[in-house]
C-alpha cells in the first residue's frame, strides 16, 4: 500500500470503519512505514485527548420528574416487588377512580363558572355597544354561538358589522377554529424569517462599518473610546456566525460569501481594547475603505 492511500484511509481505520481487508492492509503498512505510523499515533493521541473532554455536566435529579409530569404519571417506587404477591394483590385491588372523578367534576364546575362570568361580561359589553352606536344587537348572540361551536357559519355581514364597531370578536372567531397554522410554521415562514433576519443583520453591520469608516483619526490624538462599537460588534459577530452557518447549510451562496467576508471585520472590531489607539482604528478603517465592504452590503 502506498503512503498516500494509507493516509487517506487512516481516519476511517482509526474509527474502525474500514472493511476487514482494507483494515489489514493499513495495519500491515503501518508496521513498515514509520511516517504513516507517526500520523496514526498522532490521530490516536488526538482521540485520547478528546476522550478526556469533561463537560462537568450532570443530569439534574429533578429532570425525570419534569418529564414524567408531561408523559407518564410519576412512578412511585414499589415497596415490595415480588412478582406473585403483587399480581395476587392486584386481583383484589379496587380501581381508585374517586379522586379522578372528583377532579373532573371540579374542573367542569370551574369551567362553567368562568364561562358564565365571561358570558355576563360579553352581554354587558354588547349592550353598551348597541346603545352607543344605535345598531341592532341581534347579530351578536348568533356570533357568540358561532364563536363557541360552529366556526364556519360566520357570515360576512356579521364580520363587517363587527369590524365597523371594532369588536375583537372576529379575531377570536378566526383563531378558535381547527386551523392551527399559526402554531406550526411552514418552511416558507421559516425561510422568510431567516431572510428577514439576514437583511436586518446586514443593515446593522453596514451601520457599524460606516461609523468606523467615517471616524476621524489623527496621529498624536488620544485613544479613541470604541466601547459601544466593540460591544455591538460582539453581538453582530455572534449573529453572523449563526447566519453564515445557516446560509451554508441552505446553499445560499451569495449570503454565505458576504457573511464570511464580514466576519474578519467584526472580529477585529470586537477585539479592540475599549480605548483603542488611533493606529488600531485607522487600520480597520482603511481595510473597510479598501475592500469596499460597505458597498457590497448596500448591494446585497
Amino acid at each position: 500500500m502506498k503512503c498516500e492511500v494509507c493516509l487517506e484511509l487512516l481516519e476511517e481505520y482509526i474509527d474502525g470503519e474500514l472493511a476487514e481487508r482494507e483494515s489489514s492492509e493499513v495495519a500491515a503498512h503501518l508496521i513498515t512505514c514509520a511516517s504513516c505510523a507517526s500520523h496514526s499515533a498522532a490521530l490516536a493521541a488526538e482521540l485520547e485527548m478528546f476522550s478526556h473532554y469533561d463537560r462537568d455536566l450532570e443530569v439534574p435529579k429533578t429532570l425525570w420528574g419534569k418529564i414524567a409530569e408531561q408523559t407518564v404519571t410519576p412512578v412511585v417506587a414499589p415497596v415490595s416487588n415480588s412478582g406473585f404477591a403483587s399480581w395476587f394483590a392486584g386481583l383484589f385491588r379496587v380501581p381508585a377512580l374517586g379522586f379522578s372523578v372528583a377532579t373532573a367534576f371540579a374542573l367542569i364546575l370551574v369551567a362553567i363558572l368562568i364561562g358564565s362570568a365571561y358570558w355576563q361580561t360579553r352581554k354587558f359589553d354588547d349592550s353598551k355597544t348597541a346603545q352607543g352606536t344605535g345598531t341592532a344587537p341581534k347579530a351578536v348572540p348568533a356570533e357568540i354561538k358561532n364563536d363557541r361551536v360552529d366556526l364556519p357559519k360566520v357570515d360576512n355581514a356579521t364580520i363587517a358589522v363587527n369590524q365597523k364597531h371594532k369588536s375583537p370578536r372576529p379575531a377570536q372567531v378566526k383563531h378558535s377554529g381547527v386551523d392551527q397554522s399559526d402554531l406550526v410554521s411552514s418552511d416558507i415562514d421559516y425561510q422568510d424569517m431567516e431572510d428577514h433576519d439576514t437583511a436586518v443583520h446586514i443593515e446593522q453591520t453596514q451601520n457599524l462599518l460606516r461609523s468606523i469608516r467615517n471616524v476621524s483619526v489623527n496621529d498624536g490624538e488620544q485613544d479613541i473610546d470604541v466601547t459601544y462599537d466593540k460591544a455591538l460588534s460582539r453581538r453582530l459577530l455572534n449573529e453572523n456566525i449563526v447566519l453564515r452557518r445557516d446560509a451554508e447549510m441552505k446553499g445560499k451562496v451569495p449570503a454565505k460569501a458576504l457573511l464570511s467576508d464580514l466576519e474578519p471585520f467584526l472580529i477585529d472590531i470586537a477585539n479592540l481594547p475599549d480605548q483603542a489607539r488611533p493606529d488600531e482604528v485607522r487600520a480597520i478603517k482603511e481595510r473597510v475603505q479598501k475592500t469596499e465592504i460597505v458597498a457590497a452590503l448596500i448591494g446585497y
Binding site: L57, D197, M249
Partner: protein, 210 residues
C-alpha cells in the same frame, strides 16, 4: 462524567453494568413502553439521559438550555415511541430527536439574539492564550479549549464530530441520525477534525502534532 457515550451507549455490551437494568434490552424496553409500562420509560431515561444531555450540550453550548432540551427530547420520544421503526436502534432514534430539538433551539436562539443586550460577552476571545503543551494544560483549560473549538465549528461539522468522537456512533448510525450521505459525513468529519486541530494546536502547542 467522562466518556459518557462509552459508559452508556455500549451498555448492552457490558453485562452487569447496571444491575437494575440487566435484563432489559433496549428493544424490550421499547416494547414494554408501547404496552403501557411506565417504569420501562423511566429505565430508558436512566440509560440514555446522560449521553443525550451531553450531545445536546455539545450542540447548544448552554447548560440550562441543554437540560430543557433533554426534557423536550424525552417528552417527544415518549409521544412518538409507538411509531418508532423496530429496526432502528433506540440510541440512534433518540439522538435523531435530540438533534432536531437542538436544531430548532439554535434557530430560535439566533432570532432571539437580537433582543440580547450589548453586554453579551459570549464571543470567543483567544487573544490572551499562549501555546502550552497538551500535557501541561490543566483539565479545565483543556475542556474550555475543546468546548470553544467545538462551538466554532459550523452546525453540520459539529454534529458529525460530536456523534463520532464523543458519542462513538458508527458512520451508518450518524447517517441515520443526520440524514447525511456517507460521502458528506465523511467529508464533514474530516474537515471538522482538521478545524478542531487547527483551533486547538496554537494553544495546545507542542505535543499535539498531526
Amino acid at each position: 462524567m467522562k466518556r459518557l457515550a462509552l459508559d452508556e451507549l455500549n451498555l448492552e455490551a457490558q453485562p452487569g453494568a447496571f444491575a437494575g437494568t440487566l435484563m432489559n434490552s433496549s428493544r424490550d424496553l421499547v416494547t414494554r413502553v408501547c404496552q403501557g409500562d411506565q417504569e420501562a420509560f423511566r429505565l430508558i431515561f436512566e440509560r440514555y439521559s446522560r449521553p443525550v444531555i451531553a450531545f445536546i450540550f455539545d450542540m447548544v453550548s448552554d447548560r440550562e438550555l441543554a437540560e430543557e432540551l433533554t426534557q423536550e427530547t424525552f417528552v417527544r420520544a415518549y409521544r412518538g415511541i409507538h411509531g418508532m421503526n423496530p429496526e432502528t436502534k433506540l440510541s440512534t432514534w433518540l439522538f435523531g430527536i435530540a438533534r432536531n430539538v437542538a436544531r430548532e433551539s439554535l434557530r430560535a436562539r439566533m432570532r432571539a439574539s437580537r433582543q440580547v443586550g450589548l453586554e453579551d460577552e459570549s464571543v470567543i476571545d483567544l487573544s490572551d492564550n499562549e501555546p502550552v503543551p497538551v500535557d501541561r494544560l490543566l483539565s479545565k483549560e483543556l475542556n474550555d479549549l475543546i468546548r470553544r473549538a467545538l462551538e466554532a465549528l459550523d452546525e453540520d461539522k459539529r454534529l458529525v464530530f460530536t456523534l463520532k468522537v464523543f458519542q462513538q456512533c458508527s458512520y451508518e448510525e450518524i447517517a441515520e441520525i443526520t440524514g447525511f450521505s456517507l460521502a458528506k459525513l465523511k467529508s464533514d468529519l474530516h474537515r471538522a477534525r482538521a478545524e478542531m486541530r487547527r483551533r486547538i494546536k496554537p494553544y495546545a502547542g507542542v505535543g499535539y502534532e498531526v
